[in-house]
Amino acid sequence: MSATDETEAGLGGAARGSAASRKSATAGSAAIAAVGVAGRSLVPDRYRGFFQQAMVLATLVVLFVLFASVNPAFLNWPTISSMLLAAVVTGVQALGLCFVIATGGIDLTPGLGMSVTAVVGAQLMVAFHLPMAIGILGCVLCGALIGTVNGFLVAKVKMQPMIATLAMMMVCWGMSLVLSNGTNIYLREIEGYGKIATGHLIPGLPNAVLIFAVLAVVAGVLMGKTSVGRYALAIGSNKEAARISGIKTVRWEIAMYAICGVFTGISGVIMSSRLNQAQGLIGQGYEMYAIAAAVIGGTSLRGGRASIFGAVIGAITIQTIFTGLTFIGVADQWQKVVLGGVVLVAVFIDIMRRGGKEE
């Protein structure tokens, strides 16, 4: 009996599971004390998470070695630092997505949501001549609003997350074109705005990377050390059990989408600062990279399992593939094909490790 069988039993299929264990019961009579854990895998239970993260990190290292061996120029700091900078937007969105995916949901709005938030922030500063702090705040709040609406549609109205956020993605798409009048909003006039992402508080390290690192720590603590993460995983594991345990699942589920929205808003600030402009279509396709980053990092789309560290490494891995392939002279068009392959391999390895069954 593999771990997955019991997982299903725990999820409410007790009748089926019980029948199976009854069969083992007839084979011999082990005392309860001896039947705690069924089935042992190679990796002890407590270190499974650690092992998973080590695998993800190892993949990234292998990629680095691979690219560097073809073109040693790949391994210099300016390259790496610009690569990290390019990974930030995907990374920040993946951090937020982890909370939604942990509940068993999905959010397709990070990409075009980023466009709207960037445009809203930019218009506040350019069209309304408001201070930069207000612009940034507006950008983040706009993200939170999008996330809250997503969460409301999913948790309260009971829409399927894929459908609700697909519709919201289109709303964002249109709204970002409406609010920007379909043109670029240049932010060069806003003093210091560009420095948010591209300045260097620490010499040699773009601020955006620093912000990403701080956000990753915040997300990691939220996921691992507070009720937020605990309830996200509980909802993704067995929503009904969580509800019966007295957790206000609707409210918490909305909160997860709102958190994801806040991260989307922050990615909007970083993106518009990096480009020194905002326009309607800058976010197109980014949601796919963010989802891929979370999946490469070992977050399960079925919910109940999420890794913030994995999402960070996942985002860096994606950018490494893009930059690395450019370095070794592989044409642009092929980069996405390779990325798709990497996602498939990551999921496949994960399934193998679990003994051929998706959890």
């Binding site: 771990a3 997955t4 019991e6 997982t7 299903e8 039993a9 725990g10 999820l11 409410g12 299929g13 007790a14 009748a15 089926r16 599971g17 019980s18 029948a19 199976a20 264990s21 009854r22 069969k23 019961a25 007839t26 084979a27 011999g28 009579s29 082990a30 005392a31 309860i32 004390a33 001896a34 039947v35 705690g36 854990v37 069924a38 089935g39 239970d45 407590r46 603590v221 050390k225 507070t226 009720s227 605990r230 995983l233 509980a234 993704g236 594991s237 067995n238 009904e240 059990a241 969580a242 019966i244 345990s245 007295g246 957790i247 109940g304 399992r305 959890e359």
Partner: protein, 519 residues
């Protein structure tokens, strides 16, 4: 262990009471004015047939359902239980047959979900304290489970201990357990009983819902019997023998003279099943079916009747067993094989497995026999309509036209459409799984007449039913199952509600387990 109830506890004041509680669902009176009281220090067994109202009562007492009438009292105070959480705050916890655990979280996280200890500042979780508290709780239960292990990796027995630990962590004074031993081995049952007895001695009480009479005799201080949503009797366990309990459970009066005429035993055997087993539940099931016979399958929920039928027709894999149709050994590994041998299975869940609800009557009836309507690669609509219309006349399907979407038909007519599908496919052996589930009373009679007519015309029928009356009225012979085994085959003339129920509660697996171990 048998005399553990002997000089135990004098029951104390009532901890939890239901007074004249009623609850109705569309078409069913699930509970009618039921009184029920659990006293401190007692293990109170709640028994009854399928549909007697046990789970409805349990759900009302635990805040999952609201009663239509009557009141709930906790320690003498009238209370409302609007949610499971409110019941739990008053000290009432339920351990459902299906566990409510979060497989990806650890044992400790599950036990204290929603009540996690926090570090000073109330922002961060204190997982160290969490694990310590869980470990202390599990130690009190005397079970050796690591609180840091993911619950999904535990056996069912261990998961149940986690559920119990969770209930205890709420300082529950009443623990309601629904078939708690269904998944346990003998030694695990003993551990559970030890825990139950320790628990009730602390001026607490357990409501123990089970079909296992031996265990009830062993553990219960008081037995309450429900039947058809009404209280039948509630007495100290010492005053009741197992056969009394069974008599009280089934004591419904069934109109005489409705039984089928005894048939001559000369008819040929059309189906023989020998030693059929599955990986999950079914254990060495053997039976035979004669031409023109209705063979009833009786048993309680989870007895393995549906599983036997599904394995027989190849819907689920068999691990052992031989099947002969008309004396010829056959190999059935998929439902398509079964259909090719003339065996049709009418699922208990028509909506999921029997019909394509969003298509019309014609398409449903002809679905299994499309090749027959094939004309040069195209389907012959005209022939299909004619076939469907003739079946609708034959079976008296009430539908405005054969192009009506089946989701718009009543339950009884939907059942006829499924039947027509198998008749169109020339099935001579028909397996009806709960043929009248969700069908109103008038239409039931029509289905009964139809089954008899089909049998009269030489079709052979297996009828799985949880309704005693249906079984006794229609079956020529009755196979009774319990816990995956056939516990008896009765001719209709010798069958009574009592002897069927006795066979249906004769749990075989533990003894069988010992035999297997010895072999």
């Amino acid at each position: 262990m048998t005399d553990m109830t002997a000089d135990r506890r004098r029951p104390g004041p009532p901890l939890l009471e239901a007074r004249a509680v009623s609850k109705a669902f569309p078409g069913v009176k699930a509970l009618q004015g039921v009184d029920f009281a659990v006293r401190a220090g007692e293990v109170h067994a709640l028994v009854g047939e399928n549909g007697a109202g046990k789970s409805t009562l349990m759900k009302i007492l635990s805040g999952l359902y609201q009663p239509d009438a009557g009141e709930i009292r906790v320690r003498g105070q009238a209370v409302g239980l609007p949610t499971p959480l409110s019941a739990r705050r008053l000290g009432i916890s339920v351990i459902h047959q299906e566990f409510f655990l979060m497989a990806h979280l650890t044992v400790a996280q599950n036990i204290f979900i929603g009540r996690e200890p926090k570090l000073p500042g109330a922002l961060f979780l204190d997982d160290r304290l969490l694990n310590r508290k869980a470990a202390a709780l599990l130690e009190r239960l005397g079970v050796d489970i690591d609180p840091r292990v993911q619950v999904g990796r535990l056996t069912v027995a261990a998961q149940q201990m986690v559920e119990i630990a969770k209930a205890l962590s709420f300082d529950s004074s009443v623990l309601i357990m629904d078939e708690p031993t269904a998944a346990l081995t003998q030694s695990e049952v003993e551990t559970l009983f030890r825990i139950i007895l320790e628990f009730v001695s602390e001026s607490a009480a357990v409501v123990y819902i089970s079909h296992r009479m031996e265990e009830i005799k062993q553990i219960a201080d008081r037995i309450t019997v429900l039947r058809d949503g009404q209280l039948v009797d509630s007495r100290p366990a010492a005053e009741l023998e197992i056969r009394d309990v069974i008599r009280l459970m089934v004591g419904r009066v069934i109109t005489a003279g409705a039984r089928p005429e005894p048939r001559s035993a000369k008819a040929d055997t059309v189906l023989e099943v020998e030693q059929l087993s599955t990986a999950t539940l079914v254990k060495s099931v053997s039976f035979d079916l004669k031409r023109g016979e209705i063979l009833g399958f009786a048993g309680l929920m989870g007895a393995g009747r549906t599983e036997t039928a599904r394995a027989l027709v190849g819907a689920d894999p068999k691990t052992a067993g031989r099947v002969r149709v008309n004396g010829q050994p056959v190999k059935i590994t998929s439902p398509a094989d079964a259909v090719a041998k003339g065996i049709g299975y009418l699922s208990e869940d028509r909506k999921r497995f029997g019909l394509i609800m969003r298509q019309d009557v014609v398409r449903n009836i002809t679905l299994s026999s499309l090749p027959r309507f094939n004309r040069f690669g195209l389907l012959d609509d005209h022939a299909m309509n004619e076939a469907a219309e003739s079946f609708c006349r034959l079976l008296a399907v009430k539908t405005p036209s054969v192009h009506q979407q089946v989701s718009n038909l009543s339950g009884g007519n939907q059942q006829k459409v499924v039947l027509a599908k198998w008749l169109e496919r020339d099935c001579d052996i028909l397996i009806f799984d709960e043929p009248t589930r969700g069908i109103d009373v008038g239409a039931k009679q029509e289905i009964y007449d139809l089954l008899r007519r089909l049998a009269g015309e030489g079709k052979s029928i297996i009828m799985i039913s949880s309704e005693m009356e249906e079984i006794l009225r229609l079956s020529d012979r009755i196979v009774v199952m319990c816990d995956g085994c056939v516990t008896g085959v009765l001719a209709n003339a010798e069958a009574t509600q009592e002897n069927i129920m006795e066979l249906a509660t004769r749990f075989c697996h533990r003894e069988a387990g010992d035999l297997n171990a010895a072999a």
